[in-house]
Amino acid sequence: MLDVVLSLVVILAVFLVLPLVVGQAEHKVMAHMQSRLGPMYAGRFHGWAQLIADGVKFAQKEDVVPAAADRRVFMIAPGVALVPYLVVLIVIPIDRGAVAVDLDLGLFFVLAVMGVGVLGSVMAGWASANKYSLLGGMRVAAQLMSYELPLVLAASSVAMAAGTLSLPGIVEAWQWWWLPWQAVGGVVFFVAGLAELRRPPFDMPVAESEIIMGPLTEYTGMRFALFMLTEYVGIVVLSFLTTVLFLGGWHGPLLPGWIWTLVKVFALAFVVIWLRVSYPRLREDQLQKLAWAGLVPLALLQLAITGVVKVLT
């Protein structure tokens, strides 16, 4: 019983702390890549308390629900978007033996539950009763459908390689030469995951220069803050999954396993921020073309490579 409580506490700590660390890192890394300082005032030392200050501000803001909106759906949408990312964390191993629940269909569970999270944005887009939100919601739906397929195919390539769907089992089976073997699948998974999170350069659904903020246009105060938190928890979850599936999780020399996991997760989170600063937004049709003509064929190629190598060796 005690270790169950302990593992839940660790999951909550990961859920509540790491997104803030990633968010603060984004503020500072983006700022320095663009030759500015970023937040410097809150908390005195290099603005470390900026996101806490943001949270306090959001908690005090008025909650405006537009008169035309589909009220109930509008109000629960942030929760539908956020909670699945918390639930996914339960099957992710941090170290050998350090996982809350070792589900034997862990990978399938992860993909299924993350699919629920994206409904939150679609609900928000529809329930806002706003033309821009509706357009944004449509784009969210189209983007998620297109990128779900390469995500699933790349993930199943790892399941083929390891011969199991359990995430700790996959990391246990991992060896260093999987890095070149699964490299194509890893890139496809990471890029498709970015698109699922609607992070730049795949942020067409919230393109602020044309549709304001897409599905989030009408949201204010705490509900908006929950959507923002969803985005950063999403980065953490995507980095964890890529680490566990493609980068060998806790495997690494010298340091303890959980430190290796965190190092890899933060390196990937840095790449997510870096891509945001480096690339312009993809146009809607370019977005669809990248998924169907780029990532899906690459994922199929990876499946073929995995199958041939696995059967021949």
């Binding site: 908690a59 005090q60 803001k61 008025e62 035309a68 629940v101 589900l103 033309k131 199943s156 199991t164």
Partner: protein
Amino acid sequence: MDGYFGSYLLVAALLAIGVAIVAGALLANRLLRPSRPTPEKLTTYECGVDPVGEGWAQSQVRYYVFTYLYVVFAVDAVFLFPWATVFDAPGYGVATLAEMFVFLGFIALGILYAWRKRVLSWT
């Protein structure tokens, strides 16, 4: 906490905690925030001008083709998972590998068809 469904009990517990976190955050917000609604504040936001027509306006949805594509492929992809864990087991080997290439061939053919129908490029 034992057995096959015991592990899902913990998943359900975490789900409940997640719902509690969201509810707690919204409750804190309710206690701390002002509430002064005015008709202007509650109108739909359209860049500052009065909204035209209603929000659920008609527009051309060009994405429905992708929905078809997705339904075709995602249903196929679900069957990959049970297959992926056993395809290398003793007694399968080359036969299952050949089946995999048949599967990949079907999916590739579907994408090729969509490509020839020009649904992937809009300009």
